[in-house]
């Protein structure tokens, strides 16, 4: 059980390496995977309620870009854009990238992240809540997100758990000793 992320940020080197990666193929891949997920789970759109079609900005503190997510039965898409270009978003969710991933796959509890200030929200609180609660129900293991089933899903989940575990451990080790007082107790 993991109760708290203890301020895990990506090491600056990782952020630097990621920033020049080409955006269009990533956008296309994420959009396609999101559309497939929504097609597989129409209940998620019902659960989202009013947030359908409303773009929400997901802003990783330690990456150079923001993700603009809009969910819709037919035209869900993920845009990757400059952090200064998220004015369309009804709400903004900010947190370190690994924290956001942990929220996505249910490793962390959203309220606890909010209490500890690891996660910050702006704008329409109800949209953030609807998205968060829908993601909880989506049970987004990496395998599920890639639309895999059975043993291949298990394999991807185990692999990503291992990788993320290592990245988290590395982030913990490499974080600066001072100035990381974000976490509790």
């Amino acid at each position: 059980m993991q109760t708290h992320p203890s301020s895990e940020s990506l090491p600056p080197l990782v952020s630097t390496l990621i920033s020049p990666l080409p955006k269009p193929p990533m956008e296309a891949l994420l959009s396609t995977l999101t559309r497939r997920l929504v097609a597989r789970r129409p209940d998620l759109i019902r659960r989202l309620g009013d947030v359908v079609r409303v773009p929400i900005a997901i802003v990783p503190d330690d990456l150079p870009h923001a993700f603009l997510l809009s969910l819709d039965p037919d035209t869900s898409r993920v845009r990757i854009c400059d952090k200064s270009r998220i004015g369309d978003a009804s709400a903004i969710v900010r947190a370190p990238f690994l924290v956001l991933l942990g929220l996505l796959d249910g490793t962390y509890d959203g309220d606890a992240l909010f209490f500890s200030r690891d996660l910050r929200i702006e704008g329409r609180t109800e949209h953030v809540l609807a998205l968060r609660n829908t993601l909880e129900e989506a049970d987004l293991t990496p395998g599920a997100f890639f639309g895999l089933g059975g043993r291949s899903a298990d394999w991807v989940n185990a692999l990503s758990d291992r990788l993320l575990g290592q990245v988290r451990a590395y982030a913990q080790k490499s974080k600066p000793a001072a100035g990381s007082a974000r976490h509790l107790s």
Partner: protein
Amino acid sequence: MELVCPAGTPAALRAAADAGADAIYCGFANETNARNFPGLNFTREDLADGVDHAHRKGSKVLVAINTFARAGSVGLWTEAVDTAARCGADAIIAADLAVLDHAASNHPDLRLHLSVQAAANTPEAIRFYAETFGVKRVVLPRVLSVPEIAALNKEIEVEMEVFVFGGLCVMTEGRCSLSSYATGKSPNLTGVCSPPDHVDYHEDPSGKLLARLGGFTIDRFEAGQAAGYPTLCKGQFSAEGKTGYLFEDPVSLNAFEFLGDLAQAGVTALKIEGRQRGKAYIAGVVSAFRKAVDSLSGGGDPKPAIAALKAFSEGGRETAGSYKKTWR
């Protein structure tokens, strides 16, 4: 003692069953339940599947229909009762006289629990609900100390359920209109306290976070300072020239230290708050309290697991609330 655990989504219900919940409570995705937040709760199909899953895992399902029915629309609430019964729910948790009456008259075999929202804290009130509607269990308002709970048990025939972990109403549950005063939405009627569409957060460049409800500033957190829910009862205000948490600090309930005393007081069931919480919370809190309850009859040491729950608490802090008389 039975461990009663929250589920705001089918995924949370499965997590609670896996973590060792004896019973799981949940509600429908409308105003009939007191955690009516966007993206949460169950459809009829969700509930039917959830009951199947829980029963296979040996957990019961309790359906909270615990708001007060809106005038002229009582049908929405009575239909919720009928649906819960058809889905095979093990009990209904209700507070409104109209809802209790409908359940007692139309589903005499369906077990009725009196919701904390009914605020029944005297033998006389509890006996009224037991005698009138056949209520089998009362969820006690968080206003009683442990000795008072023990004394109450001697005067009533029904089972007692008490909260042991999670969000803590500072005002008596079901008897608070603070949120509606600020926002126009009554928690008693709509099932939402501090409705998110009336909540506004603003973090300035220095990292100072301001929380507003209905346009009223209700709290301010310095950079890095742990925050809480945007509820009025845990906000900062000024009175008599002093500024601070007038009603209560941002803090959550943890009554772990009283589990033995509560068992001795005759408590039947322990309730964990948090239908708005994620699977990580459900798995963490339910398994820690599973260990804690089992340790009362000679299981392993639950203290490390319980200590780890602090990170789930509002403001990162815990209180035993009214179980200690000095809280008042």
